[in-house]
Symmetry: C2
């Protein structure tokens, strides 16, 4: 594997936070990094060129969703996902495991893989660890994820162990499939595993060690932020990063609030994705340096200051809180567009600044200050 | 009145089409001009900076909608509509007459004005010719429209005459109110009348002459494109522009399709507004130089050419027809954003090119060629 795919630059002196650098197909991605979620081949309500303007370096796509619609064959016809959606920077595709296991009644699992019904038209489909690699080869994502079973919360230790055991057998099959296939679009593709183990630290350790033994370009921690208390999540993250190799990127999947992210960075996580900033934007919740804002609140009716002039994005400086409130109350699409830009800008600012503070050795102080702001604001 | 507000540059040799120039508070607006509609203080699904990028020179706002939400007082608090929505170029505000008379059951009219119930919360309100001027003074739009009664189609000649008579008395009161008030934001504000008269050419003439007698900065033709056959609309436009003064701009309200616009330009109209390009964009109908497209159609699934690379806008060149179709089928907001940009770009291109052809003396030939494209395409 490419020895320069990930380099560790600095480790915090007072905690496990780390500043690193991912180099993916010509794009440098400083870590910690936040990856906006573009489930169906678009980060909802924002143009690709605006993501570039906000300096998003890598975005997510979802294998399950793209396989169903527009279909892997369509994306292959367009020479891969990058070309289809007109996005040259890196893309990570989630394997779809999380989505399939969220379908509940619509799936049937065995050792081979999982049979599921499309949420769109009810049609039957089958995913295996191998087919998911094949699909991601056709999508041409830069980072591919193995198919896993996302263990629900709560689950008994026995059930959690059996589930994580299956995920690790699947990871091994995915790795074989990865080795025995090649990129279709003359780009390097990397493969990350997903560690399960629920809220049992010894299981987390056991199955991460199995993943490390198989060997991947990066290691994701899955099955967290699924309903367990935040403290338990932080504990699992802490255990996991103690086990994981220092020279590989660690990715905490689907997490989370600004607080979750800062706590996980403190515990040594490098990569994040979450629908929270974009989904909450569409519900009128804004993240700003001064704290959280529910823009529909009457208190913003006559507020003529910019939405957020500290982060310095165009829309945040151009429009007032009062105007944005009006757009939401009037049900105007422009409100969703502006709020989405603001929230993505905030999340990118958050991890960028976290990195600066790690490098300057002031991470914990800064984190404390930021979270005080967040906890003191009324939404 | 400012003698340089409107200047006629060229008249077509083979028809009544004209190329002119509006100068409004520092912005030059070549005519014929198309004004994108921003009813509630936003042109739906497009950012203000993108409208600038597409070189929209003037947009519409709606007095009725803005008065109800966010409310005239809110906009006055923000120092006018330009400041509230962050748009420095000119704004024309429709008086709200059309909207109120569309409410049907919700209104009661007398000589004084019209009492109506809000479509938002049912609250009762009263508009008079004077109050509508006062509201538009507070909005600070560059071009204000008088309150009129939009005569429905069909209507008897007697009813049409009575209605147009009322509109002309209201126009006179609006003019007085205009003269006896001043701009609140140190900008020049102009006042246009709205001529009614249904589909009766002698009534059109009679009431336009009354408007000319009162004297306005520009003359709108109202009450068309309300259900009458297109040929009848063109006939009324033709009569009207014969009556109207050469040195004042003529504005055909709420019209229309590309064909409607080209036919009206041929008959001497200078200004247009219509929700068609933006509304149809959100329904998946695109206007391109090659014709109309219903992007949801299966034939676009595997089409990898740009949406429209001839008009040369960023999104039209950046995304394929196949990707845009996917966004619509998947219900993604980005689809609405891209389609809106395309359709506004098309309408602006249409009138800009019409102007070039008027100046070069080739308008009728060009019009014929463009409409053939449009009529030959399948949607």
């Amino acid at each position: 594997m490419n020895p320069k795919f990930f380099e560790l630059e600095t480790k915090s002196s007072d905690c496990k936070a780390r500043a690193g650098l991912l180099r993916i197909n010509g794009t440098e991605i400083p870590t910690p990094v936040f990856m906006p979620v573009g489930t169906q081949g678009t980060v909802k309500a924002i143009e690709q060129r605006t993501l570039i303007e906000l300096d998003a370096r890598i975005i997510l796509g979802n294998t399950y969703h793209l396989y169903l619609r527009p279909g892997t064959d369509v994306i292959e016809y367009f020479n891969g996902l990058h070309s289809f959606i007109n996005w040259e920077r890196p893309i990570l595709t989630d394997s779809g495991g999380y989505q399939i296991f969220s379908l509940q009644e619509l799936r049937k699992m065995d050792e081979d893989g999982v049979t599921f019904s499309s949420h769109i038209d009810g049609s039957k489909h089958f995913f295996s660890p191998e087919s998911v690699i094949e699909i991601q080869r056709k999508l041409g994502s830069d980072i591919m994820m193995v198919l896993d079973e996302c263990t629900p919360y709560p689950a008994t230790k026995d059930a959690t162990s059996k589930s994580a055991e299956l995920s690790s057998r699947w990871a091994s099959r995915a790795k074989n499939s990865f080795i025995n296939s090649t990129s279709k679009y003359h780009k390097e593709q990397y493969l990350f595993s997903i560690g399960q183990g629920g809220v049992y630290s010894d299981l987390r350790k056991e199955y991460l060690l199995k993943m490390i033994d198989i060997g991947f370009d990066g290691y994701a921690i899955g099955g967290l932020s699924v309903g367990e208390p935040a403290e338990l999540m932080y504990e699992m993250v802490d255990y996991s990063t103690d086990v994981l190799p220092v020279n590989k990127p660690r990715y905490l999947m689907g997490v989370g609030t600004p607080e979750n992210i800062l706590e996980a960075i403190e515990r040594g996580i490098d990569m994040f994705d979450c629908v929270l900033p974009t989904r909450n934007a569409r519900n009128g919740q804004l993240f700003t340096i001064k704290g959280k804002i529910n823009i529909r609140n009457a208190q913003y009716k006559l507020r003529d200051e910019p939405i957020d002039d500290e982060i310095g994005i165009v829309t945040g400086k151009s429009y007032s809180l009062g105007y944005l409130r009006h757009l939401f109350i009037a049900g105007e699409i422009l409100g969703l567009q502006i709020a989405t830009q603001q929230n993505i800008a905030f999340y990118l600012w958050l991890v960028r600044t976290a990195r600066e503070k790690i490098v300057s050795g002031d991470y914990l102080n800064w984190k404390k200050h930021i979270l005080e702001n967040f906890n003191n604001t009324q939404t």
